[in-house]
């Protein structure tokens, strides 16, 4: 089936083409833009569902196109890529809705939505990449197209944020490029292979491979915001809320985390990684990140910065799960990719609602905000609870698997990390919930925009509630066959198959 083979490409195009058309439409064609966005998002979900169906039945979806001899641009749908692409597709839809509400009446919307859509295709591309080169291509496209979104407001802070963002990510990209070229010059084409590409045919110098692994992790670690490569993330929180929500909670950081998982499992292979002894290093790095991120989050008064540090901490769970290297931990890490996305996007949506509707940016100004915006804060609360890992929220499932995995792999020290992180999660998230619900407002809000019947614009309200419900649903229905958890297990079963 020809169409089948092109499905991965269609997924990428379903947001790329609307993005390009949006640029051409210009600023004023608001309805056309909205329709395009939705059509794109829905098409993407449709194509992704088709692939999900197919991959479950072991259909192969692959597009391969030689760039130069022996270097292919290749898209490939495997269970892991579909996990990420599904997440992107669904959250894109949510965020599109949100962004339409959020950016009402602000300038440069065509630019915003154009780049936004291209970003989504880039992350879809990252998800569907079949080799490291393709991954790198989309990774860099993602970097570039995110930049205009980060500096969207054009204020000095935005420009500064953008500068820092670029400084980190472009350097990361360069390191990645180096690593990929190096690896390729040693072992030839680098297609992602379940169980690891290098697992069998390794005769090179161990130290060389360790270096390459380090470089790869450093390259991905920039986007995954591994400490000390995390500096860009809090700074780029100056972006509009939908950007922070989708890109910095989901697409960009996840791209990094996704890359780390790919490298460990599909390039090096767990076996080989443990032989090299690099997994412990990764686990330690991830643990430090988790602790450090949480610790910093506690001291932030700016809501989005607090969430940003929380992201730094939470995304490293994925790396941690990968590094612990056992079926359970990996399941936890992989499923956290989805879960963290859902929870964090909820939090960001809510934070954006507060900023947009009430002009509230600081944690210290949140007293009683839930009386004014109960639904938003309900979503926030669910997200926050999930982050802490309370059942029956998504975070619980992730932590459950990570914890079990750590024990299974005989690395009980990881559980200490998780405990510390959980406590700090509670310390930096619960007070927000507490002051929003249980304190009385200090006075009138800085910029209270009245949106009529609802507490805020309807488009701003639906997405967080949607993602919050998903946060609960993915955990409550974790054992159903369509749940992320089951999909993660499916992925892991393939990675660990003999």
């Amino acid at each position: 089936m020809t169409l089948n083979q092109f499905l991965p490409l269609l997924v990428v195009f379903s947001s790329l083409i609307p993005g390009c058309i949006i640029f051409l439409l210009g600023e004023e064609r608001r309805i056309a833009r909205t329709v395009l966005n939705f059509v794109g998002a829905i098409c993407m979900i449709f194509f992704v569902s088709l692939m999900l169906w197919g991959v479950h039945r072991n259909h192969v979806y692959e597009v391969r196109y030689p760039l130069i001899d022996g270097v292919d641009f290749a898209l490939h749908a495997d269970p892991f890529s579909l996990l990420f692409v599904t997440l992107s597709a669904i959250l894109w839809l949510c965020t599109t809705i949100y962004a339409i509400g959020y950016l009402e009446d602000s300038p440069n919307r065509a630019r915003f939505f154009g780049f936004f859509s291209i970003c989504v295709s880039a992350s879809a591309g990252i998800a569907l990449s079949a080799n490291l080169l393709t991954f790198l291509i989309f990774y860099e496209i993602l970097t570039l197209t995110t930049y205009p979104l980060v500096v969207h407001r054009g204020t000095p802070e935005a420009l500064r944020g953008g500068r820092i963002y670029l400084a980190y990510t472009i350097s990361g990209g360069a390191v990645l490029l180096l690593a990929i070229v190096w690896l390729r010059s040693l072992v030839g084409p680098i297609d992602f292979t379940e169980g690891g590409l290098l697992a069998e045919s390794v005769n090179g110098n161990r130290t060389t491979f360790r270096w390459i692994f380090g470089l790869l992790i450093a390259g991905f670690g920039v986007k995954a915001a591994l400490v000390p490569l995390h500096g860009w993330l809090p700074e780029s929180m100056v972006a509009p809320a939908p950007v922070s929500a989708l890109l910095h909670a989901v697409a960009v950081v996840k791209a990094g985390a996704f890359g780390i998982v790919r490298v460990v499992y599909d390039v090096f292979g767990v076996e080989f990684c443990s032989q090299l002894g690099v997994t412990t290093g990764l686990a330690v790095a991830a643990s430090i990140t988790i602790i450090y991120g949480s610790l910093r989050a506690v001291y932030q008064d700016d809501l989005k910065r607090r969430l940003a540090y929380s992201t730094i901490s939470q995304v490293s769970y994925i790396a941690l799960g990968t590094a612990i290297a056992g079926p359970l931990a990996t399941t936890g890490g992989i499923v956290h990719l989805v879960h963290q996305g859902l929870m964090k996007i909820t939090l960001f949506f809510a934070a954006g609602n507060l900023a947009e509707t009430l002009g509230v940016y600081k944690v210290s100004k949140l007293n009683g905000v839930a009386h004014r915006m109960p639904w938003t804060m309900l979503a926030f609360t669910i997200g926050a609870m999930g982050m802490i890992g309370m059942p029956p929220m998504a975070g619980f499932i992730s932590k459950w698997y990570l914890g079990s995995g750590a024990l299974e792999a005989g690395q009980p020290w990881v559980s200490l990390v998780l405990v510390a992180s959980t406590i700090m999660n509670a310390i930096y998230l619960l007070p927000i919930v507490y002051s929003a619900w249980f304190k009385e407002p200090d006075g009138p809000w800085p910029h209270d925009h009245n949106h009529g019947k609802f507490e805020t614009h309807l488009f701003l309200l639906i997405p967080p509630l949607l993602t919050a419900s998903l946060t609960v649903l993915v955990a409550v229905f974790a054992e159903t066959s369509i749940s992320p958890l089951n999909w993660a297990r499916f992925i892991v079963s393939r990675e660990y198959q003999p």
Binding site: W400, L407, T422, I423, L430, V476
Partner: protein
């Protein structure tokens, strides 16, 4: 039918919560929520032992009913129903009644869910729901002291959750099963059972108010509105016991160390709580300390069970009995606080109220012919099974606890005695009936137990020796109480000896605050600012100089003589490189 009941008892409150979200529906949800525990009551009475598999839910769930569950469900649901009815009236004029109902329903859902959950994940889910939702009940009136109580409660709840989470993960990892069914046997052979037991005991011990993890309780329970206090003290703290029963490998293996530890903790709770409680002047705080002390007795039972796996069946029955008894009696007392403080017009009513209060109070102390009496007897059997020297220690201790409990309830009665209180509101039937029913339940339970043969042999327990054994501490203590009551000089003694509510929390808070103060006096931002500034200076200096150097070089390169020289030198160099 039972399946349906299992599901509906949990889902009904949740469903009501969902509907509550729509503001227009809140009024009738409020009315309806009172009856939400009914399915659970039906289930407890009529249901079969059943387990419902819900493989799609969470990580694969199993809900259902077993003997333990039935007992717990019985008293829990009853308490919720009573408290619900009571609350309708009690909070009639409270502007935040909607909010109360929300948390009430959520807590109830959690509480009922915990009981029907037969797998760890569901158990944790409902336990969490219950724990966090009850925060809303505790902080209902938004007074600073309530908020403080809530904060401390929340901190401990989170810590407890973490312990339980890790315990659960360890259990699953060790046994490979998520279900309680057959867990004990598998856990008994696990090398990590000590760690697990520790985590479980700490996690649930917090809920049970075991010393030294108890300090949230005297703050939290009094802070909640009276009906909420009733369920908190009556039903919710019992889930700690339920959890311990569910998780630990009772009957399969002896975990001696923890058993001893827990017995000591239990003794400490039983005695210390009374001593501290005696100095309180808020009747609800006194009741809270009483709960701690009563739970101390339960903890003694748990400790014993850890030592003596062979007697588990008996101990379990005793513990269940004790839990049920305490639930009903304590709830009756809490509701009684509201009743006693209400405006009572008719003297007959006053009499009834006074009698009811005294009966319920003494039942706690083990007054013969009440459920407390049966519970104490059962407990005596339990402590006999403990290893020496604990068996003898405990045996001699039990009457003392009865005596002390009597002192404490005496203090309570003194504080709550209706004639002395300023009336808050009128006593309505909606308040009086639940209270009355629960108070009567103290007797009813005893009778019921006798007839059902739970207290075996029925008449043995009523033998004069037994009666005396049950009565003498009460009489002794009662006399002391009356003495104090009568003499005004002695009456002031407890006030002078007053220990702040939450005892341990005071030094803890002080330590925490001190740390915080010390931390904030270290001017971290100032230091980092100065570093930043210095760094900026260096950067500026380097940039400026680098710019000058770069300009110079570029200008130099643009000088044609330099350029020519470079061309020439390049040529010469290339030639040289080729030749050499």
């Amino acid at each position: 039918m039972s399946t349906f009941l299992v599901l509906i008892s949990v889902f009904l409150p949740l469903l009501l919560v969902t509907i509550w979200m729509a503001p227009c529906c809140r009024a009738w949800i409020g009315r309806l929520s009172v009856w939400a525990p009914l399915p659970a009551i039906f289930l407890a009475i009529l249901g079969d032992d059943i387990s419902v598999e819900l493989p799609w839910l969470l990580l694969g769930s199993r809900w259902g009913l077993d003997t333990t569950g039935r007992v717990f469900l019985g008293f829990t649901a009853t308490l919720w129903l009573a408290a619900g009815i009571y609350a309708r009236s009690y909070l009639k004029r409270d502007p935040a009644r909607d909010r109360f109902e929300l948390f009430y329903l959520l807590t109830m859902a959690g509480n009922l869910g915990v009981i029907v959950a037969l797998d760890m994940v569901s158990f944790l889910v409902f336990f969490t729901l219950m724990s966090f939702a009850s925060y809303g009940l505790i902080t209902h009136n938004r007074k600073p002291e309530s908020m403080r109580a809530g904060r401390i409660y929340l901190i401990l709840a989170v810590c407890g959750e973490i312990c339980l989470f890790w315990a659960a993960i360890l259990v699953v990892q060790q046994t490979g099963t998520l279900y309680f069914d057959g867990l004990a046997a598998k856990l008994a052979v696990s090398p990590k059972r000590h760690v697990i037991t520790g985590l479980i005991l700490v996690g649930f011990g917090i809920k049970l108010g075991t010393m030294p993890l108890h300090f949230w309780l005297p703050l939290a329970h009094p802070a909640a509105p009276t009906p909420a206090s009733a369920v908190l003290s009556g039903a919710i703290i019992k889930t700690g016991l339920l959890g311990i029963i569910r998780f630990l490998p009772f009957g399969a293996v002896a975990i001696h160390g923890w058993g001893v530890a827990w017995i000591i903790a239990g003794i400490a709770s039983a005695i210390m709580a009374v001593l501290i409680g005696l100095t309180q002047h808020n009747p609800k705080t006194v009741l809270a300390y009483s709960s701690i002390s009563q739970m101390g007795l339960i903890n003694i039972g748990i400790g014993t069970a850890l030592m003596a796996p062979d007697h588990w069946t008996m101990i379990a029955a005793a513990l269940l009995l004790y839990a049920a008894h305490h639930a009903v009696a304590k709830a009756a007392l809490f509701l009684g606080v509201g009743v006693a403080q209400a405006e009572i017009r008719l003297p007959g009513q006053r009499m009834l109220v006074n009698v009811g209060l005294v009966v319920a109070a003494l039942s706690l102390a083990g007054l013969p012919l009440t459920s407390g009496f049966a519970a104490k007897i059962a407990l005596k059997d339990v402590v006999n099974t403990a290893l020496e020297p604990w068996a003898s220690v405990l045996k001699s201790l039990l009457p003392i606890t009865g005596l002390m409990t009597t002192l404490l309830v005496g203090r309570f009665l003194y504080l709550v005695w209706p004639s002395r209180q300023h009336a808050h509101n009128r006593l309505t039937p909606a308040m009086a009936i639940p209270w009355g029913v629960l108070t009567a339940g103290v007797f009813a339970m005893f009778i019921g137990m006798c007839f059902r043969g739970i207290v075996v042999p029925a008449w043995v327990s009523l033998a004069p020796k037994q009666l005396w054994a049950g009565a003498w501490p009460i009489i002794t203590a009662g006399s002391i109480v009356l003495l104090f009551w009568a003499k005004p000089s002695l009456r002031k003694l407890p006030r002078r000896l007053h220990i702040p509510e939450g005892d341990l929390v005071v030094p803890l808070e002080w330590i925490f605050d001190s740390c915080h103060r010390i931390g904030s006096t270290l001017d971290v931002t100032g230091i980092s600012d100065s570093i930043k500034k210095r760094r900026q200076n260096i950067v500026d200096y380097v940039t400026a100089n680098a710019a000058r150097v770069l300009d110079r070089i570029e200008l130099g390169l643009e000088n044609e003589v330099t350029a020519g020289g470079l061309i020439g030198m390049l040529a010469v160099l290339m030639y040289a490189l080729m030749t050499l």
